[in-house]
Structures are given as C-alpha cells and as structure tokens.
Symmetry: C2
Subunit: 314 residues, 2 copies
C-alpha cells in the first residue's frame, strides 16, 4: 500500500479532507470527508489505474493496456496510460453516455464500441487485444488496482489518525478492499464498514452468507455500484471488513443533497451512499453488536463527482 502510494504520488492528487460543522451537528458525530470527487478524472478510480499502469515493467508497459468500461475506470486508465506514454484501448458499450466515451477518447485512448452485454464486452476486448500483448487492467478484481484505490484511505487515516470508523461505498469492491487493507495497516483501531444500496446488495448477501453471490438485476441511482463483487475483493472483504450495511434510494438522494447544500461540493450518487447510512440509521440497526455512533469520529470516502447535471435526482 505504501509502495502504491509512492508510485502514484507524482500523478494522483492528494485530495483534501473536509469537515462540515453543520453535518456534524445534524448527526451528532464528527465527519472527515476524503474528497475523491476532486481526484483527477473526478473519481478515486485514477489511483488504481495509475498504480496498475506504473507497476508494469517497461517492455510490458510499452505494449499498452486495455480494459472494458462504461464509466470512470476507462477514463482513468486512458489518462494513466497517456501519462506513461503507452497505448490504451477501452471497449465501451454502445449505451454508455456520449460524454463518457468522449472523455476516454479525449485522454487519447482508442475507443472500441461493443454491444452492452458483459459477454460482448469481454469478447470484444479479447478480439481487439489479439496478439498485441496489451495488459488487461480489470476495474476492480486486480491486486494492483486494489492497492491503488487503498491509497485514498491511507492518506485519510494518516491525516486523521484517530478515526472510530471508516465508511466506503461498495460495488465491485475495489475501493472497499483497498480501504480495508489500508485501515488495518495504518489505523488498526478503526472499524471498516462498507455501505451498499438495497437495490444492488450482492456484497451484503455475499458477506452474510459467506459465499460470493452474483448481483441479480441491480437497480440503484448509484450507478457506480451496479457491478458484482470481484473474487479477490470478496476474499479481502470477508477478512478485513467489519460490516456491510444497506441503504435506501431515498436516503442516498437525501445524503447527496445534504453534501451539495451544506458542503458546496458536487458528488455523484455513489459517493453519497456512506452518508446515507447515517440518514437511514443503518449503522446502528443492522447489527445489534455495532457500537452506537453518537460522538464518533467517522471517516467517509467521497468516491467521485461525475454526475449528469441535466438529470439530477431531485
């Protein structure tokens, strides 16, 4: 984790940790928000992509990197590749927003459109790579990506060493796995709790059952959290995460709006999911053994700020 942090330091922003007195008063706790909405490409994804790209030995890197993505990971990998000066190919489903496709192309990556199914994405990726020797960088089920994502929480707990709990949103599990590793290493006294939308709760069900269960017809406004938990991510979550709690769509929208209004910063719905656990009271009701939150020092990973300003949820 420390090596990942050193590797990406010249490229990733050290994002600020913001406090918010009015939110503290509202919930009776002390919040510390790690603002990855201010990260390059507008999301923590740039950390994992950078760490993956800069982990490659020179000859391997020179052959380039590739991925399939409809969202922030594609843009993050494209920018990381450009900064290292190596080729990048991103397979993008045809139903991805034009603005996302344009962002990937804007960072100089080759964009290859495909049908919007996981099978088509993987088949297209395999075809375009062919014998080129390009390295595939998975958006979350990848040790280098997980270590890179963890650097956000590492910076947070180094800056605020005495947190009681760290909250992060969970989708594929790249951010949460990295966060759990970082917190165990650098702030072992803090609990790590992942927060998931009720409408996409495969991680919650997997965590409870002890068996990795796929996401079935996920549906949530938190569009960054629709993916299923990865294999490596599930192993790390089982081992290092203290709890997973679920939140309603209403709480996500309310939390998102609270952050915009009180903190005057733009976050995307996925980034509002951890605060939604306070709105919903999910941290105290899900687990009778969980300590009460009143007066606690709570770190929150604000995962990103890429939101369509023409389609706000209020």
């Amino acid at each position: 984790m420390v090596r990942a942090a050193e590797r990406i330091r010249p490229f990733a922003r050290r994002t600020p940790v913001l406090t918010a007195a009015s939110l503290d008063a509202l919930f009776g706790v002390r919040f510390f928000f790690k603002c990855e909405n201010f990260q390059r490409v507008g999301a923590f994804k740039f950390r994992g992509a950078s760490n993956a790209v800069w982990s490659l030995p020179e000859p391997e890197a020179a052959r380039g990197v590739a991925t399939h993505s409809s969202g922030n990971h594609g843009a993050a990998l494209a920018l990381a590749a450009r900064l290292r000066g190596v080729p990048c190919t991103v397979v993008v489903p045809r139903n991805a927003p034009a603005v996302k496709r344009a962002a990937v192309a804007g960072y100089g990556a080759e964009v290859v459109p495909c049908e919007p199914t996981l099978e088509a994405r993987e088949a297209t990726l395999a075809r375009v790579i062919g014998g080129s020797g390009q390295t595939v960088v998975h958006p979350y089920d990848d040790a280098r990506v997980i270590a890179g994502q963890g650097t956000a929480a590492l910076e947070l707990v180094v800056e605020v060493p005495d947190l009681d709990v760290v909250l992060a949103p969970i989708g594929g599990g790249g951010l949460v796995a990295g966060t759990a590793l970082a917190v165990r290493e650098a702030s072992p006294g803090a609990r790590v709790v992942a927060v998931e939308p009720l409408g996409a709760d495969d991680a919650y069900r997997s965590f409870r059952s002890g068996e990795r269960l796929p996401s079935v017809a996920p549906n949530t406004i938190a569009d960054g959290l629709l993916t299923s938990l990865g294999v490596r991510n599930f192993e790390l979550v089982r081992r290092y995460v203290d709890d997973i709690v679920r939140v309603s769509e209403e709480a996500i929208v309310q939390a998102m709006r609270l952050v915009w209004e009180r903190m005057k910063i733009v976050i995307e719905p996925s980034a509002a999911v951890p605060l939604a656990a306070l709105v919903d009271g999910a941290l105290e009701t899900s687990d009778a053994t969980a300590p009460p939150m009143a007066g606690k020092r709570i770190g929150i990973l604000l995962s990103g700020g890429n939101v369509d300003l023409d389609a706000l949820p209020w």
Copy 2:
C-alpha cells in the same frame, strides 16, 4: 484591512484557493479561485458582517445590530451577532424565499417581515429599531463591511502574490470596493476588474459616466447583483478599480456549469460572473487598451454557493 483580517480571524474561515488545470487549458490562462462558497453561511458576506459586529465598542454592541436583507447579508449578520452574543433584528421582505428566512431565524435573529419595496424595508427597519439603540449594518455601503469583504482578496494575494489581474462580481460594490483596497495595498501590480451582468449594469454605466446612476429594472440570474452601487462603494470603485466589464446571461450560466463540472464545487450564479468574462471574451473586447489575457495569472473571487438546487438554470 489588516486589522479587519485580524478581527475576524477567530470567526471566519480562511477559505482555500483552488486551481483547475482543465479550465486553465480551456482558456489559456492560470486561474486561482478564492472559494468563498466555502465561507460560513456560504458567502463572503460573513466577513463584512463579522467585521462590523466586532468593530462595535462593548456598550454599543450590547444593544444589538439590525439590517434589512432578502439574502445572504441577513444570515451573515445574524450569525456574527450570535457569535458575539448580542441581539440581532433582520427585516425580511415577504417575497424572500422561505429557506432564507429560516436561515436567519436559525441563527437566532428576530425576523420581521415587511412588504417587498425598498421604502417598506427602510420604514420597517426604522420602526423596529425605535429607541432601542441597535446599530444598523448596511449590506455594502459601510466602511466596516467593505473592509471585512476585502479580507478575502487579501488572503488571496498573500497566498498567490504574483497575480496579473483579480476579478470580482459587482452588485452593491461591497466585495469589489474591499477587493480593490486589498489589492492596491498588498499587490499593487495587479489589475482589479469588476464584472457585472449586462442586465444589471448600473456600476458599468456609473463607472463610464463618472456619475452614480441607479439600477433601473435590473434583471439577471445573478440574484446577488441586483442592487445599486452604494455611495462609498462608487467612490472606491472610481479610485481603485481598473475596469468594469459586462457579461451575458448565457455566459454566466455556462461559466457556472463549467465550475460545477470541472471543479466539482457548487457556486451560485453571482459567483460565476467573473469567469463569464472569460467565456464572453469581455476582458479583451471592452477596452482596446486592456492587456491580452493569454498566459495571465488570474485571481477570481467565487463569492458564494447558496443556490436553489430545485431551480438550476440548465
């Protein structure tokens, strides 16, 4: 100005100065944004109100302060008074948004409703003060308020000493007069340019004619800039401001959206007015003798972030 800065230091936030590489690339300049949207009550107004309240000798302060306001100044004065522990009365026109009235009351001030005309506001204020000895704190035509507002620019030029130009939005002229004083004092090499909506251009017309002209039926999305330039403000603007330029409504909306999308921060329309001058090219077309902007280091006062999220202009 330095005394004002020392006076309000325990109460006002030292807001961050943010840069934005993608906006720099878009306009071919270097921007330094002073983020008063992160100030207490969400706007620079808290600086002037605090300086006014803490400038009062103890017996005078104990009798309390009062103002009329439909916007941020009322909330700012209410909070400043609460922090000093003195009474505060704010006359609020009946057509002011309920949320603004609630904010003033939330800070513990007495809210007195009145009809929405300047005459009614002033008459109501005179009546409620009566013989109470409360000090009226004008929102902008007041030397203590002007000095307080100037502390934002003072912090900016101390942190970024080699700016070529400082841009601020102009309405009543409290922010611009304070900014001009601060820049002349602490960074005399920098130009000070005020930016005004075309639909509320009394300051522009006054500056050009040399005579203070009232605002006639002002109409702009920048609701903080509807007021007419004050007497003290006009004198300071004439003496210390290098130029006033005007911008279109379209440019204001485009600038506001650019800041939200690229910087991931929430600003109100009035705060987008200075950047709109870059969108419109107004800085270079208004005055043939004005130096070209390319490559320049430009400080921008982002005046506030209080915006109705249910009525966004796009």
